[in-house]
Symmetry: C2
Subunit: 195 residues, 2 copies
DNA sequence: CAGTATGTCTAGCACTGCTAGGCTGAGGCC
DNA sequence: GGCCTCAGCCTAGCAGTGCTAGACATACTG
């Protein structure tokens, strides 16, 4: 009984992950509007109700995909920051890594940052990987900087703006490098007094 | 015959606008997911197919709402810029006006900048009001600045990031003034050499 | 071997965007 | 004035959506 239920739980966990992966792949291939419960069920070779024995609904599946993405993003930003930890270079590397992440996996990025969600941000229940990703931005600034969090918040916002407007075709995709260079230069600049 | 068809055309135009306004109000009151063709038809007191004699589909109605918004946004940014045309103050005023616009009319802002659209941005077919809104940002920078467009693009992106992440609850709504002040200070700062 | 519990599926609900086809009433012509 | 035409509108319905109730089968338990 113990071994059997263990095996079942294992299979169940595998299927749980299978659903998440299938949703993610389908979204990446054809966009989130193509991810219907029917198509997803067909892809994992089960009937629709099986999805609902693992998740509360489609939103819940998308949330799971998003959380998976937060972990990957945090790892990627960390790697970028540690590759060149000198102050301005680190920020530049992290920002570039962020934009690359958004460009390479647009559907994943959408689930994380663009589609409606009830994942808590900047809150006690914030998923740790999400907090970790944000902290990578914070760590790019000097520890004695008392406004690091503000710096990080605005940097992240600006990157998200660039990523979101590019992805939806609202700003042209070329010239991304110039935008990145300019953004980092200004964020690390010393503001002229009296403004 | 002429007078009659003129009256008809007038009524038709009125109804066209009525649909746009109803969609906008409904979206603002209950969000875009509540704007269904049935509810919208009920609201304008016609049957569903009438909507399709004015617009190609729901997307087309949302596009019309968005374009209406571009005009209002452009006017608002222009007013803000001209109120205090001195260089850094103008940029600050325009940015604040942009964020206020996004906050006060979240559904309209969504239709303009967040929901999928096929409106052309930075393109020959770009709706003039949209181009005008962007030009308000460009005009905040000195005419001799050869990278004005880049400045404007990044400024706009950063504002959009702040607006989008705030609206979806991904960054907390308080502290918006600090973000605005910081952003404008950095955009107008002189970058330190050699970065 | 009977009974239970678990897991899965079929079928269906209420909704979505959208459209085909019929009806009605007003306009134009003799 | 009376007939015909036609534009405008509506009812009804299609295919698809997320989600669920209830039947069924399979596998474990006493």
């Amino acid at each position: 009984m113990s071994a059997i239920s263990e095996r079942r739980e294992r299979e169940r966990a595998q299927r749980h992950q299978l659903i998440i992966t299938a949703a993610r792949e389908l979204a990446e291939a054809e966009g989130w509007e193509a991810v219907t419960t029917r198509r997803l069920a067909e892809r994992v070779e089960y009937s629709q109700p099986v999805l609902y024995s693992h998740f509360h609904g489609k939103d819940d599946i998308m949330r799971a995909v998003a959380i998976e993405g937060f972990g990957e993003l945090a790892a990627r930003l960390r790697r970028a920051r540690l590759t060149d930890p000198a102050s301005p270079a680190a920020l530049h590397a992290v920002c570039r890594a962020y934009l690359e992440f958004a460009t390479e996996q647009p559907a994943l990025y959408q689930a994380m940052f663009m589609l409606p969600t009830d994942v808590k941000f900047a809150h006690a229940e914030t998923p740790p990987p999400l907090r970790a990703a944000f902290d990578e931005f914070v760590s790019c600034f000097q520890p004695d900087n008392q406004r690091r969090e503000l710096f990080a918040e605005v940097t992240w916002s600006a990157l998200h703006g660039i990523a979101a407007l590019t992805e939806s075709g609202r700003i042209p995709p070329n010239g991304q490098a110039e935008r990145l260079d300019f953004l980092v230069a200004q964020i690390t600049a010393t503001p002229r007094p009296g403004v």
